[in-house]
Structures are given as C-alpha cells and as structure tokens.
Symmetry: C3
C-alpha cells in the first residue's frame, strides 16, 4: 500500500480489518516496526479524535509523530499553480509539501472542503496537492470528499457487532444540523459499506442526494421510517446538499433519530462518527442507551490508523 | 490512589512528598514504570509550567504524554446535561471524556472557574464531569477550586526549607492584582498546609475571606503587619472576592509584599506559584533576593506530578 | 560550545559542517547521546521548518523535545527590567526563563524583531534575556538579527554543491516582498559566508544597506546584473531597510530573480531559506528548475540543528 485515501478493494479492506483487530487485541505487538520512522500529521482544520488516535497508533508502532496545526502554528498555504503570491498566503503547497516529504517517512493530512467551490472540492484538490508534491506516502485524515480512516473504523465496528451470519442491513440516515457540514463521512461510509459487501439503504430529505460516485449500488429511500425497518446498523450523519452545493435545505427535527424511530428495528445498533450535536442529530436516550456504538467506533479509530500505518511501513 | 484532586490525608501527603524527593534526587529511577502507558493532558485554559512539568514527569516515568489544548486545537465542549446542542458548542463533555477514557490510561485536566456562577464553580462542575464520564483516573491540573499539584510542590518546598524541628509559621498573604483571579491556589494551599500540620495564618483585606471549607483551622488576621511577624514562610497570592463572588474589592498597593514588610520576620522565605505580576503582587527586591523560593517551587512541580503519576500507576 | 547564537570562528564552523554531513549520512548514529536530556523549544513567533527540523534533530539524538508556542499556548512575556506589571503582560521573562532553565537541559528560542525599536532589535534584547536568565545553553531559532541554524544549513548546502576547488562566487541578492521582513537571514548569511572564506557580493537597491557589522568584507554592488555575473551561488532574500528602519522602500519587480537574470551565470545554483513568495521574490521557473537548492537547504536544517545539539551535549 502506498497512499491511503479511499476504499480500494475488498481483499485489502478485509486485510486491514483483520490487522486492526489483531492490534486491538495486542496494541504493542509491532512496537519495533516503526522504529526510527516519522509520521508528520498536518492539520489544516481542527481535530481531537483524529489527532490523538493517529498519534497513539504511531506510538504503538514505535514511530514518532509530529503534529503541525497549519492554521495556527504554521501559515496560510497557497494552493494555486503559478500564483503570484502578493496576498495573504505565505508559502506555496509545492514548497511546503516537498519539505515535509524530506522531513517525514509518511504524511497524514486533514484538509476540509470549502463547500463553496464544488469542482475543486470534488477533485480533492488540496489533498491531492500534498500527494503530488510530498513524494512520500500520504494518509487521509479526512479530505474534502472522504474520511477513510473513519470508515475503516466503522467497518471494524460493524464486523465486531454483527449478530448473525447473514448480510446485515445498514442504513445511513441524514440528520439535522445547524451548520453546513461536509460530505466526506457520508461518502466514505457509503463507499466502504458497499465495497465490503453490506446491504446499504440511504435515507434523507429530497435534495440531499449525495454524489452518486459514492452511492451507486445503495438503495435510496426518502421515507426514513420505511428505511429504518429491520435495520441492523443505523449510521446517523448530517451533510449539506451536494447538488445545491453546501446549502442547508432543511433542519426538520423530525429527522433526528429517536428511540421511537426504531420501533421496527429492535436489534438496530446506532453509529455516529462524533462529534455529535446531542438532541439535534441524535437523542440523548439513544446515545446513552444500549444501542449506541459511538464509543466503540471512536476506540477503533486507533486500530484503523495503526493497521494503515503498519501496511504503509511494509 | 485513583484520582488526584485534593488533599486526602496526612499519611498520603507524606508519602507523596517522600516519593517526590526521591524522584528529585534521581528523576529516572522509575523510567520503566510507565512504559506503554499514556496520559492525556487536557487544557481548557492556557498553561506553561503545568504543561511542561506534567510532560516531563510523564517522560521521567517512561509514559507517553499527549497534550490537547481544547480551546485552540479542539473545540468548545457542551457541559450541561440534556442540552439541545444548537448553539456554539460542538461536542458534549460526555462524549469527549468517554473517548479520552478510551484513548488514555490517565487523564490530566485543567479547567478554570467562570468566576460568574458561584454554585457551579464551587461544585467543580466541569472538572467533575471529566471524572464522571472518562472512567479512568483523573489528575487535577487546576480545577475551579483547587490546584493540588501546585500545593504538593509547595509542601515539598516547605519541607526542603524548614530550618528547625519546630512547627513553621506559614502565612498566606493576599496581594493586589489587576484582574479577577480564581481561588484555587489559595484554597489548595490552605487545605494542604493545614492538612500537613503546619501553623497557618491567612491575611487579607476585609471582604476577601476564602470559602471556610478550605480555611477551617487557620488563623485569620486582617492586619498584614501583625500576620507577618515571625513568619517562616510567606505565600503571596492574589484572589478575587469569594463572598462578593469574583469581584475585585481593592487593589491597594500597600498590600504588595516588600522587604520592609518583613522587618519582623528575618528568616521568612517567600513563595509564589507563578506567574507573578512583578511590582504589583510582589516587589522585584524580594523576587530577586535570597528569600525567594519561587524557582524551587516551580522545579518541584515536576516531582510533584511525577510522584502523583507514579502512585496512580501502582 | 555553550550557546549557539552566531558565527564564532572558521574551525568551529568547519567542525559543525563536517558533523552535520556525518549525521546526514547516518542520522541515528548518536541515538543514545541525548538520552534523558530535554530541549525546550520556545516560539515567540510562528514556525514550520524550524520547529519540525529541531524536533527531528533532537529525536535523532535520543533527546526529548518539548515545544512551547508562547504566543498561543502560553502568555505574553514582560521584557523590561523593573516593570510594574499592571498591563497586558502576565509573566516576566526573568521568571519564565529561569523556570525553563530548571526544566530543560537546552533551550532553543525564536524571537523576531519588532522592526520598530532599532536599538532594542540590534542588541537582540529579547533573545539575550533568555540567555541571561535561563542559566542553560541557548540555541537561536532565529533572533532579531541572526538566524544561525539557517546559515549553517546554507553553508552545508554550499559545501555539498561546490563544483570546483576554487573559491565559489556567492551573491546575496535582495528580492521584492509585500511585507516588512527582518534582516536576520541576510545578516547571518553574510556573516557565515564571509566567515567560511567564500567570496561574497551583496546586491540590493540603494537604501537597503544592511548593518555593516555583518557585511564587512563583502563586495556591495547596486547593479544586480553585474553582481550576478559568473555567480556560483545566488542567495535570494528580501529584507526591509536597515537605515530607514523597517521600511519598504521599493517593491520593483525587476529585482525578482528570473532565468534571464542568470544569462551570464550558467552554473549558478539558486538558494532561498523558505518560505518563499513565488513570482514575487523568485520565479516559478527557477524554483521548479535545476538550479534550485531550496529543498536541499530545508533538508539540511535537520542536520545543522543535530550538529549543534550534539556539540552542546558534549
């Protein structure tokens, strides 16, 4: 594995899940594997879980992790080719990424979308500039359109909680939110769930259709009630409109998942990537109840990152 | 020892002081004790000494320390139970603390008081939410009402500088300041000094009475001159009013400790937890003179944290 | 070696260059040398390359590096002796530096100039306060007037790229910039280039004369075209006026180095300390072409810091 940016294929996904579960069972089994290797963690946007879990994953492999909060500790990067840099940007991504490629063995990058320039976001422009110019393996810590370490952690969590040998019914349900939120988590979850061979239903208000590049093969159902019937796993997530790019079309509280929504899904486990807006996206009763897998997902972020770093070191 | 949040009892305090002095003599004597263990250092407020000394203490035990500056690198936490999170807070303390409990073996938390909501501050609400929801040992790096690692360092410093075998006279004297300052250092200093069996006099302008939960057993003396007579240790500290909660009642410069105040206390050593406002709280002549123990207190912060981490690891 | 703040003498410079090249060849050859030693990296100003390269250099020697971003994680330091601290500053450099001297074995400090108070900047007041009060070896990570780790990296880069055994012609050429930039890099580059026995020509518009304390022995040539003839190494850098202190006198784009400027210097290699304002200071064609040594300079920052730390540990 060179870069880790998206779902590649089922055998690789299965291998990563297996590796992650082995690390979860014995986190320091490969403590010498990364000795003398360094991962640079570049944050163009804030982070809590992702930063801590990546640092821990690196430490568990004996690697050194150096965190750079570019927005606060560094400076504004210029992203455009050929730019005449007479404005606010202080360093070109070309130069910064190349330096980082010299300083580190692996780069891990978080770069959110603008939610303004649909074309640039869809091409994952900023993230791909790091790949283009660093010259070393790059791991996505959430790009404009994908959050693959989260999705890998989600797949691990589903695998740990499958009750029967039959294909689980997975539902991705849109939730209200007060801010315009990126599509990355929803896109990646769809991509990985489908790629891992699960049965996926996506439910959301009309207008909230995701980029079909990620959802092809999923069942789209506008009636949330119907979508949730007999669900085994319900993934709750807000995202802003994709067609009417970055817009909030509704905040209808009826879409907030509550216990009553799951009357016809008695065994359903509920997932969310965190941070979650309580009682806006998801009710307290569910988050604090037995259905919730959110803490397990968060814990699996460590082992998803560790499995990925480990395979990149190979 | 599970959590470290306050003075518990004299035998434990004596044990911690002894342990700290052993570490001061040989900082890396237990370098393998914390191997593979992680402490998460959560700062809801800025820090210099506390952050560095805690990191060093952890390193001296072979532990990994991960620092999270929540106000800058993370995001605003919601503290209220049952909150409908449709405002500025991004994640509930419940969820964030539980994740941290999964990621770390020990949590160290700094959470200052509001100085507005007396009841919430007095209950140490925010700090206790971390204890409630993280599920792992929590160390106070200064809470709304206590700063026990500072006080432990102060007790170590007093023990190192006691001249005779008789009970030392310790004086806590209020000092002027231009800002409203929390009560935590003063509260904890009183709690630990009394708990360690020292003779404590507290002097301050009328209206600056501390919460008597912390000062019971101390001699309260409004006449600073009288209070300082024959003092062995003079602890200088500003705090805002407790009764008229969070208010500044006076900034009378006569209360600033100067050499002339110590005419009748020739052997007095002067202490301050730093940062100190020079020539407002305390004069240059004292800070730069032979009476000052402030640098020794700061150095002992390392060993106070190391002793506490060490006992929590046991 | 005690402090590392400037060019001292040629034998020491040669020794540092040799040591740095040995580390470049085998970065972890002295991995046990710094075991149990700590370097505190104090940033009063932002940093990317300097912070990461210093941390990596420390790690390569088995040292622990603790980074403190004073402007963000700490608080405003008071710099004036005898100050009555009733304004915005929270802690006196005296106290903060002394604490750091207790916590660390080596201090590395970045402190930019004000570009307002010429006398204070010229005395390197802030940086020297850290030396005065910390009581431990201090390394400059760029002070008001010098950037010696950058210059050492530059000397290493020149040595690696000298084509013949004859003295290379080195040209330091002023470049336009939209902001008022410190003199530190230019000063240090002149000081080290001359100290290392290279032939140095400095070219800039009239009014941009540097402090002649640093440039004595250099050839000053106001005609950039003439200065660049037969150059072996061209160092491109903006600085603000020194005489008319901190002012921008011109932003004439004719001074931006382009390929056509180097018609009469076919073998010239081009250097810049980064970050560089592309197409303002230096053209894309040069930065992306074969002449550019900028990435090699950045890489050598690791080994320049490692050589210095190593000698301070001795």
């Amino acid at each position: 594995m060179n870069h880790f940016t998206q779902f590649e294929n089922r055998p690789l996904a299965d291998q990563l899940i297996e590796k992650a579960l082995a690390y979860k069972n014995n986190p320091r089994m490969d403590i010498s594997k990364g000795l003398g290797k360094r991962v640079g963690c570049i944050f163009l946007n804030p982070s809590l879980r992702t930063r801590a879990s990546t640092q821990i994953a690196a430490m568990n492999l004996g690697m050194e992790a150096i965190v750079m909060n570019m927005d606060k500790e560094g400076w504004a990067l210029e992203m455009k080719e050929g730019a005449i840099m007479n404005k606010g940007t202080v360093e070109h991504i070309k130069d910064a990424a190349a330096v980082m490629g010299t300083y580190f063995d692996v780069l891990a990058v978080r770069a959110f979308p603008s939610l303004v320039d649909k074309k640039e976001d869809s091409e994952d422009y900023i993230f791909n500039q790091f790949i283009k110019y660093s010259g070393i393996p790059v791991i996505s810590l959430e790009s404009a359109i994908r959050h693959p370490l989260q999705s890998l952690a989600d797949m691990i969590t589903i695998q740990e909680n499958i009750l029967s040998s039959t294909k689980p019914k997975v539902v991705l349900t849109w939730a209200p939110h007060i801010k315009a939120i990126p599509h990355a988590v929803a896109n990646s979850f769809a991509e990985w769930t489908l790629g891992c061979g699960h049965d996926l239903t996506i439910t959301h208000p009309e207008g909230y259709e995701l980029d079909d590049k990620f959802t092809k093969g999923a069942n789209i159902e506008y009636d949330q009630k119907k979508a949730l019937e007999e669900a085994d796993f319900v993934y709750v997530k807000n995202w802003s409109a994709f067609n009417d790019y970055g817009k909030i079309l509704t905040t209808d509280p009826a879409w907030m998942l509550r216990e009553t929504h799951l009357n016809k899904a008695p065994q359903a486990k509920v997932m969310h990537c965190l941070p979650v807006r309580r009682n806006i996206e998801l009710s307290d009763e569910i988050l604090d109840g037995k259905r919730s897998l959110v803490q397990k997902q968060a814990e699996n972020r460590i082992y998803s990152a560790q499995a990925v770093l480990s395979m990149i070191l190979e």
